[in-house]
Amino acid sequence: MSGSEVVIVGGGVTGLSAGWWLARSGVKVTVLDKFIVGWEASGRNGGGASHYASPLFDEEQRLWPQMDELLGYPTEHRKGRILIAMTERQWEQYRFIAERHKRLDHPVELLDVKQIQEAVPLAGDNSFGGIHYKFGGHANPQRSVQAYAWALQDLGGKIIQHSPVTGFETAGGKVTAVKTANATYGCDSVVVAAGPQIPQLMAQLGVDVPLAAARAEMIITEPAPMMPLGGVDGHKIYGRQTLRGNLAYGGGPHEWLDVDATGPAARPSTPLARNLAKRLAEMLPKAAHLNVIRSWAGVIENSPDGRPIIDRLTSPDNVVVASMSSVGFGLSPASGHAIRDLVIDGKCSFADIDLLKLSRFDGLEKDWREKRGWMPIS
């Protein structure tokens, strides 16, 4: 593969990580993005990196502590997470989760209120208890996305921004070029990692990829004093204390959308910021006085079972399609590796990812979105 050309459609965290992994293998990589790298969901998420449900989990855990060094740029990665239960029901659920982790040999520890407050001084004495994940962690999505992009460039890869992909050229059962409004990029292989726009792009190749897009929201406060452990989840919200001290949190109901080939028309936040503020103030009562200074929204796509689609197609046979199904940032070191393996070797070298094949949706009912209620409000 060395010397061959791979075009990656989509400069989100998945496409950039794939590009970086390919460039590390000596492949000539060009990443095409409709705007600026990481501008959509990759730069708008909670930064969590603890995805035990994924076949890519072990690789995610192996790689994150090395990413600053491997990329050459800071990602703000920190290890460990705490989940705080604020209701009796949550405490029951979290103890169930802890038992499950123990069964799967993921290191966890149950915490009482005092132990929580030691690690998370902004917590009050109003919690029921917590779990300390001695694995996983969090990083800064925006800084990490740019780190992948820069590291890829440092290895000779190209990033072409402000260049939405408009179509493909095919010949002999392969994609031979990727087209934008201004240029055509010849290629030996293609990675389509364009998030919510994947279905429209793949439809041009006659491939049906079932994905539905939705909007989710976050808020961020002014900086608080740094806590011993910043990766604090719980009370049905997710987020982190940034290394600057801000509390960045999301969660709660999403809104299903239709997204056309040009991508999300807008990413408006809504008064949901008030419901996020309520839960954050309940979970971290000593932060209740902190000012919220921004809210934002991002648009993410989900597959019918909520699991990623990472697959090398049979026809055209030089295309890898990759959607992380709304859980892409944390897994990005591993998803890029898997995509690299599929492009170069046709097979993932470090995990069994058959679960993520597109063919699992063969025979999916046409009205799968309607059945799930994953429809935009009309």
């Binding site: 449900a53 740029y73 600057r244 799930r372």
Partner: protein, 487 residues
């Protein structure tokens, strides 16, 4: 795992939001002269009208230069909210006219976000404005919203600007004329356009010593009449020079030195170079806006139900190109600032780190990072302030970019060799004023919200550990963690 789809996603936002607490035909944001006039007009026409104004804001917010650039030169009187409220009524007798006309008036009430259905959102029950006072926040529906939010101070960096005593002209005028709460005695004014001239005259009329006006261009810029008044008042206008630095001690500014070498004793440097229309609400709601150099910057482009009036719609158009004027100041100040001059005060971002696209000091800067700069970033595409703020944190602090957003854009224009108008406006986001979690929180949210609330999408198959798929643990997982979806 058999999933029994019901056609409804109970974790979707549909039907979970509270209805607005009240609805008015017209909500007017800002009770300055334009806002009052709009309130009177609509109330007289028989419309239900709510008139809100964020002033008096808390002393803590003023300390964060919100909404104006107060520069820490408030007296202790600004800590007394009752006195401040009284001062507003005393200084604005027309408020009573609005109330007499039937408008409902809420002072000390911030409009922090405007929301409506449109691209990307269809779940709102009405078009609503988020309000907050010192106790709580709430939502109000409206037929028309009139934005009379005025204009805010343009801040610009020079060595020593990041200390108490460097402040804006609108803030100084507000402290002098509305609150009688200015803590300075001797003011040096930067600029000589109408804003600077008027500010100097107001200050002197209130017994403040004006140490002079400093003008970067070769001649005074304001109207001949105002220039004559200032000269008649014995106030000097020094042209063709700029401030080189401000020096001071624990209480802030004590003197300013000009590029000519002259040192001027003063406890306040008033940056009166320009005002920027306060379009935060319009931009945060994705309303259309356009750059208008003779009206002071980006102004709302106008919509049927979102109407801007007064300075929010743009400064009085006298044909003066405010952007060209500011860029002249920027060029001159760029010659006196140094690599370690702070540009973003909240996040302590220096000029070198801004232009170097370097991360904050609490992060490492390995060799590859040090090799990056605005110059390398520009090879990927045009300068975008939102991208640069993500990397450098400039504009990401508690003042929400009020002190540095405009000058960062100007600096990017200069450094990238492109016109100011090609630099995108850094996005504003709700809440457009800093709001404590406990105030912003919807404490009495509908039960439907809690019922729909999941940490993520509530898709049962999304979080089953891969090892558990196809085992009895899978159903146990769903039973325990997903209490509603697909059951």
């Amino acid at each position: 795992m058999e999933l029994n789809f019901t056609g409804t996603d109970i974790c979707a936002v549909n039907g979970t939001r509270s209805a607005p607490e009240a609805r008015y035909d017209v909500v007017v944001v800002g009770a300055g002269p334009s806002g009052i006039a709009a309130a009177v007009e609509h109330a007289t026409a028989g419309k239900s009208v709510l008139l809100v104004d964020e002033n008096p804001v808390s002393g803590a917010l003023m300390g964060n230069d919100t909404p104006l650039y107060f520069g820490g030169r408030m007296t202790a009187a600004t800590q007394n909210s009752e006195r401040m409220l009284e001062a507003i009524f005393m200084s604005m007798p027309d408020l009573e006219k609005a109330m007499d006309a039937g408008a409902e008036l809420l002072l000390g009430t911030t409009a922090w976000g405007v929301y409506r259905n449109g691209p990307g959102v269809a779940s709102l029950p009405d078009q609503v404005v988020g309000l907050a006072d010192a106790e709580r926040s709430w939502m109000v529906g409206f037929g028309t919203i009139v934005l009379a939010t005025g204009a805010r101070d343009l801040a610009m960096a020079f060595p020593g600007w990041n200390q108490p005593g460097v402040m804006g002209a609108a803030a100084l005028q507000m402290l002098l004329t509305r609150y009688d709460a200015f803590a300075g005695r001797r003011v040096l004014v930067l600029g000589s356009h109408d804003l600077a001239l008027e500010t100097a005259l107001v200050a002197q009329a209130r017994g403040i010593e004006v140490a002079g006006l400093i003008e970067v261009r070769d001649v005074p810029q304001g109207s001949a009449d105002l220039v004559a008044q200032v000269k008649a008042a014995g106030i000097s206008i020094t042209c063709g020079t700029t401030i080189a630095s401000a020096k001071g001690g624990i209480d802030g500014v004590e003197s300013a030195t000009l590029t000519s070498g002259e040192t001027i004793a003063c406890d306040t440097v008033c940056v009166a170079i320009g005002l920027v229309p306060s379009i935060e609400l319009v931009d945060a709601m994705h309303g259309p806006r356009a750059l208008n150099p003779t009206r002071g910057g980006y102004v709302p482009a106008g919509e049927a139900s979102v109407i801007a009036v007064g300075d929010c719609a743009g400064l009085n158009d006298s044909g003066f190109d405010h952007i060209a004027y500011r860029m002249d100041w920027m060029r001159a100040l760029t010659a006196v600032t140094t690599n370690d001059t702070i540009i973003c005060q909240c996040e302590e971002v220096t000029r070198a780190d801004l232009i170097g696209i370097q991360p904050p000091n609490y992060l490492p800067r390995p060799a590859a990072m040090c090799a990056r700069s605005l110059e390398t970033l520009l090879k990927d595409g045009p300068a975008n302030p939102d991208q640069i703020k993500r990397l450098t944190r400039s504009g990401m602090g508690v003042c929400q970019g009020r002190r540095c957003r405009d000058q960062v854009a100007m600096l990017l224009a200069l450094e990238s060799g492109t016109p100011y108008g090609t630099i995108p406006l850094a996005s504003h986001r709700a809440p457009v004023r800093p709001l404590p979690l406990k105030i912003l929180a919807e404490w009495d949210e509908p039960a439907e919200m809690e019922a729909a609330w999941d940490v993520w999408f509530g898709i049962p198959t999304q979080w089953v550990p891969v090892e558990d798929i196809g085992t009895p643990y899978q159903d146990e997982h769903r039973e325990m963690l997903y209490t509603g979806m697909y059951k």
